[in-house]
Symmetry: C2
């Protein structure tokens, strides 16, 4: 743990984090204002950082000064701006929607209790509606590997801030794939835990019955450390569930989709084929299966009545709000979300139930599904030319996961031949997080890939990053 | 087991069941037509009985002639007429809706594999929409203890046929209380298992996401025998769930509602107070609790968007069908079921989730809820004067149970001072069936109440009944 090691060697959180804060301010803000297209919407002020450092000192005192009792002691993180952090505006990427919460989201409170320091709030597709990272009046967040390409969404800012080495981990949310797609496009791990395992109290809802908080990390140990801190049952979140032992305990056999449409992205296809070869070489058994139930369920998410959940959350706000602060694509999608009837909703629920049952039966044969995180990596220009269609492609292998009550982990693989990131995603039954993280540990140890910050030429001494927290 | 005992002593199913069939035909049918207000809609013909007896003989041969391997060998039962039995019309109490299934419902197939003989199909509130037993073009099913009173619904016929000693057990369905209310009004046990434990494949849906098959029996041993046969996971029913061990393992502490409105029915109130005293005397601990979350959730079922599930099932049929075959109250309720929007449905789902969480937390303090099965026992005249309002009263302590994913068992108590049946209902977390049945065994052994057929002066020699199957 680079951060804990630095602190053990006598460096102080105050010193390191003040420097880190200042460097982010310099690169991401202009005259105190968020720079257009930055991955950050708001940054902790010096006073806000100071206050957190004082709380950290108190916390350490309560733990007898033993740093090892605080698994995230002094570790800097970024929080997607649809998750409440006390004292920071929650904008959900809509300036006129912003409110100032006086309480941390349950998950953020857990991070702070473990010693983490929140450096700020990050960009997203407005109201977490999108997988592109471009749908925001705060500007699109370009891909840090090549700014012609998108960074993925909706948790674009949390992914890019981590890829740039500005934080050691970050929180996203994931309803349709928002915690996995940006991981794939930024050479990161993206853990989408089982629904209800991490409390969503204090999160602006997208689809309340499906929303999850997700974790971006540079490696499986980091992801696991943060996950262990966050996976605490919250009796005040009516969608919370205690951890159960019904998930997979290990990942050995992987199901590859029979249906793979790359939408002309040959780099993506080659990278996936390479990853499949690597998995086989590492001893995993790959089995091709019919993916029709998954693809049908994926389509239900936006074509079916679940859009009504987004309307239930912010539809009335969108109807009455000034267009200036709304992303036009998001406003169009959610604004139409009140068209379906309750009869439609129940009929779709029956389809969901039937398809979920078919999908769950697949796990009698295999431990996990093994898919490219996305079938393609689009440019900003492609997204601009067909904003709904391109977005929808990106959800091919992510949209169905929460509808079918599964857990998932996006993991970086070798870069594509064009030097851009490529990720695979493992999908397993609910409560398989540990098995997925064990796979990632093995995968990462064997492939020995450099991390995203290293690839982006961010050296540890610049921010104490390669910021391994675990 | 009176039936098995009779067979062991050399009596033949053919002889006993042919006589039983003939006696039901005589009392319930006129010139081959269902008598108005009978508890039966269709009776097995001599040929249909013969065919089942031949299958039973084959089955016995497959089991080496050992009757004890067939837990329901030659035991006669009745099936609510919204559950498919091959070769019998399924009417759902709507003549023009009727269809002739060529397959048994999964549950009926299991009964037959265990040796049971289906004597026929029984009356119900049309489309299982009602708790009164009066909403049917086949006529109301009067209470066998006093025909001025209702028999309860929607599983009226299955309850009354059993109370009259015409069968040894019967199947109902239970979405809002249809398997409990008629048990309470007919001095029977009514087991409403956890959702998904008994397959609903082959059942005409009421609210598909909530529907359960229920069991009427004369005592806990019978109920348990039938339940053990039926609780088999059905991979082809997308709402099926395997049994889990998360339920209560015993019932000791009981929660009594703080809010008890008897709607002026003093007999009911007195009977409940007596039952509470008896429970205390038997060593159970009663604790008064706030029932607001249960009452609020109960109201959601008919006032909220769940009526849309009924519309999804039969709404279009009702709209296009001749009024002659429709019960006007049922047609009005379901016909309006397409008014709510998907946004309403999701908002109600959030309420359901929040209230369910509150209710589940009650079970950290107590093992089961202890309620009167209904707050009152109405007359047919009362129902006629206010068909919706009276029905709604009957659901006070039943409507919330499936919405909150609980299991329940209605149990007879001492008759009311006016000689009419009174029942209490225990409600526990999902998968608590065994604990509930254990309670009932203790309760019935201590109270030593005569069974409904005995109370109705049906003597065992008449039908080999006091038909204990287990």
């Amino acid at each position: 743990n680079d951060w804990l090691q630095a602190y053990r060697q006598g460096q102080s959180p105050a010193e390191l984090l003040a420097a880190l804060r200042a460097s982010i301010e310099q690169s991401e803000f202009t005259d105190g204002q968020h720079t257009d297209g930055s991955s950050w919407i708001s940054l902790a002020s010096e006073a806000q950082l100071q206050q957190q450092l004082e709380q950290l000192a108190e916390l350490l005192q309560q733990h007898g000064g033993d740093i090892s009792l605080l698994p995230l002691y002094g570790v800097p993180c970024a929080i997607k701006d649809n998750i409440d952090v006390a004292g920071f505006n929650t904008t959900a990427a809509c300036p006129s929607f912003a409110y100032l919460p006086d309480q941390d989201a349950h998950a953020v409170a857990l991070l702070k209790q473990a010693g983490a320091i929140v450096l700020g709030k990050t960009s997203l597709d407005q109201f977490a509606t999108g997988l592109v990272g471009t749908r925001s009046p705060y500007g699109a967040v370009p891909n840090p590997f090549n700014s012609d390409y998108i960074s993925g969404g909706s948790s674009s800012g949390s992914a890019v801030a981590l890829a740039r080495g500005q934080v050691a981990f970050s929180l996203g949310t994931d309803t349709a794939g928002s915690g996995r797609v940006p991981a794939g496009f930024n050479h990161l791990l993206g853990l989408k835990p089982s629904r209800g395992v991490i409390s969503t109290r204090g999160v602006v809802p997208a689809c309340r019955s499906l929303d999850c908080i997700s974790v971006f990390a540079l490696n499986s140990q980091d992801a696991n450390s943060v996950y262990q801190v966050l996976a605490q049952y919250d009796g005040e979140d009516s969608y919370a569930r205690p951890l159960a032992s019904t998930g997979k305990s290990e990942v050995k056999t992987l199901a590859v989709p029979q249906q793979l449409d790359w939408f002309g992205d040959d780099y993506q296809q080659q990278a996936f084929e390479q990853a499949c070869q690597q998995a086989k070489r590492l001893g995993y058994r790959l089995k091709t299966i019919d993916f029709s139930p998954m693809l049908q369920l994926a389509e239900l998410l936006y074509q079916g009545p679940w859009v009504a959940e987004r309307f239930a959350a912010v539809g009335e706000f969108i109807r009455t709000n000034s267009k200036a602060h709304l992303d036009p694509v998001v406003a169009a999608i959610i604004g139409e979300g009140d068209q379906a009837s309750a009869v439609d909703a129940f009929n779709a629920e029956y389809q969901r139930q039937a398809l979920s049952r078919q999908i769950q039966q697949v796990f009698e044969q295999v431990d996990a599904l093994w898919v490219p995180t996305t079938p393609c990596l689009p440019t900003q220009a492609q997204v601009n030319s067909a904003p709904i269609e391109i977005n929808s492609r990106l959800g091919t292998f992510t949209n169905f996961v929460n509808l079918a009550d599964l857990s998932a982990l996006a993991v970086p693989a070798h870069l594509r031949a064009d030097g851009l990131p490529f990720g695979i995603t493992l999908i397993a039954p609910a409560f398989s997080e540990s098995a997925l993280l064990q796979f990632a540990q093995h995968w990462q140890a064997e492939l020995a890939l450099p991390t995203a910050p290293a690839l982006l030429d961010v050296r540890p001494e610049q921010t104490v990053v390669l910021a391994v927290v675990g």
